[in-house]
């Protein structure tokens, strides 16, 4: 045991004085990220399903005068190198050598969690256990003897409830203390059966003699185990080139006696130890009641009801999103078009700028950015519901239910996690494909991901729904998302038969218990998801609306926007869109600029259709500001009324604001309900936005997959819009 302590070299201790590095590791969904957020006030992504964190992330903070770096690792069930999460977590622990590991153990599931703990103890790094989710364990009536646990494992065990911030101080104290005195807090290690131990000693002696330089880098006992297990990933990394016959010599009697490979034999022993330990430490109540989670799952996961329930839940989310946010959208929209643009114009005249700059500010920036901003409340409402579904544990069920449907078609169930993330924004979804081991599954998932309707597409839907489908707003919105999912399944099947032949391994996802997310966490994570859209509006959407304004007004002095650069481009493309129902240059140019980000489609339309403001009566600056405030108060009232209306009191009529109806009326003239629906479908499908393109390049190191996505999506969008438009025309619907 003392051998491992040699690992701590003096140089390490030097750096330690400056910052203490604390690795937070444990099983998936045990609350690691929640714990770090609670300690350091960070805002790492948290969700109630296994596999949220796929990448190591860190948060810094100060504790009693020393800087502490908390490193969040992806959750793993073991430290074997079979999944990307395991490799990331293990490589970090081995190569970066944190000063101490906080092992987050799910108190409701001790036995399975301890398996990982036992492996962690072998790394020779001080370990402190955070016995998290202690509240739920108590609720279930478990009695956990933490003292016994401490004695048996030789490490400190602190019960914590990360969501309520309890136990954190004790945990930090224990962790910093262990980091400061690594030799005193050296963990005990599991003694395997004699056969294994003697084989390990044999190999360890060999390593010490012939590869003594490795002693600085690795705990040697652990390395000997890895060599016995034939862990090629580790051997390659350590640059170990050991004679196979030597390993065989050490282990052959073992494999012969047990009739199994070394890795399984050792795994069995760890399981047995974990089981024994749990039996000693945890007292469970005699009679187990059927828990709420099981009751709900009986219905929600039902073979026949599962998918209908999922669809119904989605419908409710969209209905609520739409109703709740509509008044706020109208408010921002009214404010930017009316008083705010007056304020902008006043400011420019005050500094004596040229007239066209005033037009750029109002028709360009305020119309472009303002119109996108108008939909930020919708996006936030949507993100709120998504966060709620993630936090409650229902998202995991949705993945499970859909997986059952998709697996029969040969798609990998694990792909669902990135896809779920894609509903917020496709970009994090692309990065999350990193967890997929098989490069084919990874590429396939990234290709299908842009079909998940992200928040950026909402503004387009909302404008068109507001113009044509107010009575069935929720349903029409819902149909867009369902269309995206259905087409993803269809394309998945097609790709599986063509580009990506081969079987996908079975994926088993652990279903977490249902939990009630706290309002505070809901708000924080809603903000984290939605803030991205605000930043976007303030940066590149702002930039694009300026460029669009110039494209609409150049060459200088152009009479009508139709003859501007953008108008000309639109006219070139329009014929291609003719058969699918919207062959006008306005729609075509909006689709072109929308390649940057899909919100820009509405921003550009607002710029193109920017109706000259009729001369309004003179107002003062303070009147303008007061008007903005008053209409906000009205919007809050409307929003609350709408939510009640959703639950059946009265149907809501969308507020007819002057400026909104400005764009709405023009759109109503340019489109029919049918072409509007085809247009929405086209926007959903036509290509991933530029940021997704960059993410794909970044993640795969090549533009190839983006090229494929671009190509197939263009074709798909066109074919789908064509089907909708021509089909609808034939049937005489919505013309």
């Amino acid at each position: 045991m003392s051998l491992e302590l040699g690992v701590k070299s003096s140089e390490l201790r030097e750096t330690k004085r400056k910052t203490i590095t604390v690795a937070v590791a444990g099983n998936p969904n045990s609350g690691k990220s929640t714990l770090i957020n609670a300690i350091a006030g960070s805002r790492l992504y948290v969700g109630n399903w296994p596999g949220v964190t796929v990448e190591k992330k860190s948060a810094m903070f100060e504790y009693e005068g020393s800087k502490i770096k908390l490193v969040d690792l992806p959750g793993t069930y073991s430290l074997s190198p079979y999944t990307q999460e395991e490799i990331i977590a293990r490589d970090y622990l081995i190569t970066e050598k944190p000063d101490v590991i906080i092992n987050v153990v799910d108190a409701t599931n001790i036995e399975r969690n301890l398996y990982l703990t036992i492996q962690m103890l072998e790394l020779g790094i001080p370990v402190v256990i955070a016995l998290n989710i202690y509240d739920e364990a108590e609720q279930k009536g478990y009695r956990i003897n933490t003292k016994a646990m401490e004695e048996m494992l030789g490490i400190t065990v602190i019960p914590t409830v990360a969501t309520k911030k309890s136990g954190l101080n004790d945990l930090l104290k224990a962790a910093t203390e262990a980091a400061a005195n690594p030799s005193r807090y050296a963990p005990k290690q599991l003694h395997y059966s004699e056969d294994i131990e003697s084989a390990a000693t044999f190999i360890q002696t060999h390593l010490n003699e012939h590869h003594s330089s490795l002693q600085k880098r690795y705990p040697m006992r652990w390395l000997a185990f890895k060599v016995m297990e034939g862990d090629s990933h580790m051997m390659k990394e350590a640059g170990l080139d050991i004679d196979i016959s030597l390993i065989e010599q050490a282990t052959k009697h073992l494999t012969r006696a047990h009739g199994d490979d070394i890795e399984s034999i050792m795994a069995d022993e760890r399981y047995a130890f974990a089981a024994g330990l749990t039996r000693e430490m945890v007292k469970r109540p005699e009679i187990r009641k059927m828990e709420l989670t099981e009751k709900i799952d009986k219905v929600v996961l039902n073979r026949f009801l599962g998918i209908p329930i999922f669809l119904a839940a989605m419908w409710l989310v969209f209905k609520l999103t739409f109703d709740l946010s509509q008044p706020f959208g109208d408010w921002i929209d009214g404010a930017t078009a009316g008083p705010l643009s007056r304020l902008a114009a006043k400011a420019i005249t005050a500094v004596n700028g040229p007239l066209w700059v005033a037009s750029l500010a109002t028709e360009g920036v305020l119309a472009g950015v303002g119109f996108v901003l108008a939909f930020v409340p919708v996006i936030f409402a949507m993100m709120f519901f998504i966060t709620f579904l993630e936090g409650s544990g229902y998202m995991a069920r949705a993945a499970f239910v859909m997986d059952r449907a998709m697996h029969s078609m040969g798609l990998h169930g694990k792909s669902f996690i990135p896809m779920l993330l894609g509903f917020g924004c496709n970009v994090p979804g692309i990065y999350a494909t990193r967890t997929l081991e098989n490069p084919r599954d990874k590429a396939l998932t990234a290709l299908l991901l842009p079909l998940m309707s992200c928040g950026a597409r909402l503004p387009v839907y909302v404008v068109f729904i507001g113009a044509f489908f107010t009575t069935h707003a929720g349903t029409v919105l819902w149909s867009m998302y369902v269309m995206g999912i259905a087409l993803a399944i269809l394309m998945g099947v097609i790709f599986k038969r063509t580009l990506f032949r081969g079987e996908s391994p079975m994926f088993i996802m652990e279903l977490p218990p249902y939990r009630m997310p706290s309002l505070r966490n809901l708000l924080i994570h809603t903000w984290e998801k939605g803030k991205h859209f605000l930043i976007k509006a303030g940066t590149y959407i702002f930039a694009v609306s300026i460029i669009v304004w110039f494209l609409l007004n150049l060459p200088w002095g152009v009479e009508s926007k139709k003859d501007s650069y953008l108008g000309k481009t639109g006219q070139v493309i329009a014929p291609v869109l003719e058969p699918i129902g919207f062959g006008n240059w306005e729609a075509a140019s909006a689709l072109v600029t929308g390649l940057i980000a899909k919100e820009i489609v509405v921003g550009t339309m607002a710029e193109i259709y920017a109706v000259e403001q009729e001369e309004q009566e003179e107002t003062t600056v303070s009147e303008d500001i007061r008007e903005i405030g008053a209409s906000f108060t009205a919007a809050v009232g409307d929003s609350i009324r709408n939510v009640f209306a959703t639950f059946g009191v009265t149907s809501i009529s969308a507020e007819e604001d002057d400026s909104v109806s400005g764009l709405r009326t023009v759109i109503q003239k340019a489109f029919t309900p049918l072409t509007a629906y085809a247009f929405m479908a086209f926007v959903l499908l036509y290509m991933p936005c530029v940021v997704v393109a960059i993410a794909m390049k970044h993640e795969f190191g090549t533009w190839k997959w983006f090229g494929v996505a671009f190509g197939y999506q263009m074709v798909l969008a066109w074919v789908v819009a064509l089907t909708i438009y021509q089909g609808g025309k034939l049937l005489g619907i919505g013309i």
Binding site: P428, R434, Y540, F542, A543, G557, I694
Partner: protein, 44 residues
């Protein structure tokens, strides 16, 4: 349109293009989680 107009125009367009480049390419579109390590470098 005068020299001043042209200058202002070039400045504004230049600024806008730079902003596009910076936020789209450099900042990876400010996607969620990019403030921390996720989008910085590839792990594997």
């Amino acid at each position: 349109m005068g020299i001043a107009d042209v200058l202002i125009m070039i400045l504004i367009i230049g600024g806008a293009v730079y902003m596009l480049y910076r936020s789209l390419w450099k900042k990876k579109g400010h996607c969620q989680g990019c403030d921390s390590v996720a989008c910085e470098k590839k792990q594997l």
